[in-house]
Symmetry: D2
Subunit: 341 residues, 4 copies
């Protein structure tokens, strides 16, 4: 059911023209003439009316506005699937009672680093290891990642620690090589609307961790999840990582209210990345606790053995001992809201 509002000066001819067009799409109408406006209720399966068709109706003579009642995403909606989606990876379940912590360096800089961090975050209680082999960098002159070499080190770290691997996919041409070494494919914020890439990961059998775009609405984010799901891959994990606002005191503004809102409107698991959200290591711990209290199903936290020497994101990385202390504190917060970590 959609609603079409006519302009004050719309003619009977405009109305007939509109009704005919809708009937041509197999839809019925319900006309209400108010004192100031005429309203056309559209009856039938309007979910088949694309956004394009909606926009075309918007410019018909006499039309003031079109209001859609149904959401543009379907597979991702809570209405489509009532129960929470559980994403299972090597025996770990994301989206259930247990809150998972994905930890590791921003980039896999060398073998020593990733082995060291993997051992330490494992010991502190992390359940997944993160690390970038292909790195999206705003400058062409910055370190762009080790590529497959980095993936090989990640695999070694997994073998040693037992932690499944989360790593970012930047280009459809890397899917094959990434699939050999990685357990969860991350789609970064800057690729949230790289629709061709979304279509491709919709065809694979690995879970996808979909980061929210820098200035994406929640609706657009779920539309990007829908892209992946429409290809057949329903193992999508949403990751809030801060949005762009006018505030410059923090790197981004972490939108924690997205967490409980998403839990209402979608069945997909929702995790939070406070490291990118705030961009300052000494704000990560309070925001990680806040994310858990808000209901997140997991956290993604940057940890580096030596942030001063980090090749990227050093200023937002925790040292292993700080991370370990945080894990202890998070257990208390999780327990306070009836979950575990």
């Amino acid at each position: 059911m959609d609603i079409i509002v006519l302009r004050p000066g719309a003619t009977e001819e405009d109305l007939r023209h509109l009704v005919k067009k809708l009937e041509g799409k197999g839809l019925n109408t319900h006309i209400s003439k108010g004192t100031e406006r005429t309203i056309v209720g559209v009856i039938g399966d309007t979910s088949r009316v694309s956004e394009d068709e909606e926009n075309a109706i918007r410019v018909m003579p006499g039309v003031e506005d079109v209001m859609r009642i149904l959401k543009p995403y379907r597979l991702a909606s809570r209405e489509f699937k009532k129960d929470n989606t559980l994403v299972e990876v090597r025996g770990r379940v994301i989206g259930g009672k247990k809150i998972h912590v994905i930890a590791g360096p921003c980039a896999v800089e060398n073998r020593t680093l990733i082995m060291d961090v993997a051992a330490k975050v494992k010991e502190a209680g992390a359940t997944f290891l993160r690390g970038g082999a292909f790195k999206p960098r705003t400058s062409p002159y910055s370190f762009q990642g080790l590529g497959e070499e980095g993936l090989i080190y990640l695999q070694e770290a997994r073998e040693m620690s037992g932690l499944p691997i989360v790593s970012e996919l930047m280009d459809a041409r890397d899917i094959e090589v990434m699939a050999k070494y990685t357990d969860i494919f991350q789609i970064g914020a800057r690729n949230m609307q790289n629709f061709r890439l979304l279509l491709e990961v919709g065809l694979i059998k690995k879970p996808v961790l979909l980061k929210r775009g820098l200035s994406s609405t929640i609706k657009e984010w779920l539309m990007s999840a829908e892209y992946i799901m429409s290809g057949g891959n329903h193992q999508v994990i949403l990751c809030e990582r801060g949005i762009r606002t006018f505030e410059t005191a923090t790197r981004n503004t972490l939108d924690l209210s997205a967490v409980p809102l998403l839990k209402q409107i979608t069945h997909l698991p929702v995790i939070v990345d406070p490291s990118h959200g705030v961009g300052k290591w000494d704000l990560v711990a309070p925001m990680a606790k806040a994310a858990v209290a808000a209901g997140a199903d997991g956290l993604m936290i940057e940890v580096h053995s030596n942030p001063e020497e980090a090749m990227s994101d050093g200023e937002q990385s925790l040292k292993p001992d700080v991370f370990k202390k945080l894990m202890e504190e998070l257990k208390l917060v999780a327990s306070a809201i009836g979950r575990e970590i």
Copy 2:
């Protein structure tokens, strides 16, 4: 110490002119000629250089940029005062270990409502009562508050419940009447940069709860606190209530990272208003818990006996029984981070 950067083509004459101008203000300079730019370090008490003088320097010939090292606020800064400011109101202390909850309806609609809500939030554990007698409304056709009649009902509610009163001041001409009935003066988001009003509340002896403006940076917010403090009133409580972003799924975007950041850079207490922050009652509980986990010194929560009949903000108000349940849950979260509520 400030830094002035000269443009690539700046002349020796430009530099002499600049140095002379600075010396005229009693400041010394330190000149570093790099390969691409000349930098002038300004030595002396540059805190006396106003923003206006800084801007005037910015347009001098040869000047590319002026970078200020010192913050524009002083009294509000953690450097000025290391210890947390404790605001004491009728025996209650805001800014210490105990987290305070200010609860009540958006507006004092009538005597029955405020007495009923006061009794119920008191029983649930709230320590302050909120309620607006003068209401800032975006429409001139909306309910504008009961004025002094509302204040009288608030006073009655205080006598009955023992809860001190927080109410909004909209106009300097109301200070006298407000002072008779109110314990904490609230400055609303839309008045955060009503500088004349800030100057006036700087002269009174009541604590001021200063809400963050809809699109204010943290720096501007602290400058508004500085306005109040510069008049002699150091009893300022900061209240994060959500900022305006592109996201429309929530009323505002609650910026919880402001909480730990403020705790670093200012000594003033920081509280959070999740009701305005999200604008939907069913998101208030998770965000209230998140605010506590992030380190807030207090919460401000809208509670209404019958949100369906509320004259304002019904959609974001909790019913008393929902509020009571939330208070129980908040105690657990507060305890998990070593505080109490």
Copy 3:
């Protein structure tokens, strides 16, 4: 006519309850049951339904959303008044074919400055003189204006140059003194939602130049105009002065698309302040031309005899000769779109 959308699981009882409530407000309903949602069309004079009542309906059981068809402002809308409002001030008409230029310094710093600038902008073709006597400043330590002394100088400048005066009102208590010396009252961006001040200027007989708030939507801006008009003062001029976005390369982002949009939906004159919009004097000229090309009825431009010594906003002020050259260029652009300046 409003539209109320029920949730998928809404019961017959919910619907009856809702219809009864609406009937209690003297409204009729029109119910359309679709396959996925039930829609209630509300018939009758829904403009009497306040935003508060709308919000109360929003939390009724079974209600998913309320969509308003009518705009919340009435007096300010083009539907209420088809013809452009013409604001006449000392023989000058704002809102007609002629584009007016309001020029002058940010603040009246002293008598010499304002007399000098008045003479020069007059000669260059400006038709109004601006200058602040009461200055809203983000820092309590900045120059706050000369107060009545400044107003006296403005009056002298008007006598000498013949240019009517535009000056900012910050506080209702200054209305009387301002009215003695000023022709147009400016309400600054930070006071756009100072509702008490808006109500007061609604009662006077002077035109009001209402600047857009830093992060105000066009709808909110028109609601603030409605506040003034609802008091009886229909002489309102809207002034776009840039909005706050994530971009930091300019002081604000000048939203020129607001100009043609406003010309469609309101009958009030619309002017543009490129000086505050961009905050850099060397971007003012192109943006002034763009504003004229976009259809603005006027411009407000900061001019200072000696920007290097300005007590405020020096970096965005034009020198008189630069302003004179701009006026010549603006004449050509105005003529190209069939207007004059």
Copy 4:
């Protein structure tokens, strides 16, 4: 030259550690001890210090802030190349006195449409034809473009009209096929930070029209241009198409002040897309004129023979006769500022 600010409590040891680290990078230092802060000026070729190294310095003990004086882009800067870059395509020069208009439908829907529009925009004075064969759509259920079939129709339209073709590249795997039919490769807003794609178009010999990202700063936009240029392709055209703000009355907020600002800081041509900028066809004409007045080197305008039937963006497309009238008006505005169209 960079500036490093030490915290108030930084020790001599911190300072020695920092100086040693900088010397290890071949840089010298200049230390200024103020009353409140110590400042370290860094001398030498700091352009070789990557953003990563800068961030690593930011977390060293005792460091409060790092301020970079030099811009992170080099090839794209006006300092690197004083003269305007002229992009020549089939005898047409973008970036010179003549303002170019790129017109056509959002998507190539079928052969008839593109042939018809090409003929009409050519006749009205457009100098390039646009049309998408690969379409980025927010919904997986929307029309995604005709692919190579669309490119073939574009080529036919070029042969018939003589207008060179601008079309969007979405995926590096399409470069070869696109290169066969297209004259200018467009990188869309959602791919502005698809760094792998930028690297690839840096290696080809076709001009690239780089749209600004939905929430990209001007600095980030130039960094993306730098990505392309660093690969050897210096034929980059920047296209402002509106940024995302809180305002919902227009599709985006067209940031025209970016135009004169870019003309100062970069030598690359700058064009404006008012169709996406505002999203409503009846606002396109005033904003197109404003863009020309602001100094744009070109315009990109959506034109469709029958917007009511458009498969995408119908609500922002001009009909050919409206476009023709606009072209007449644009000539007058261009002439008023000393350019031609």
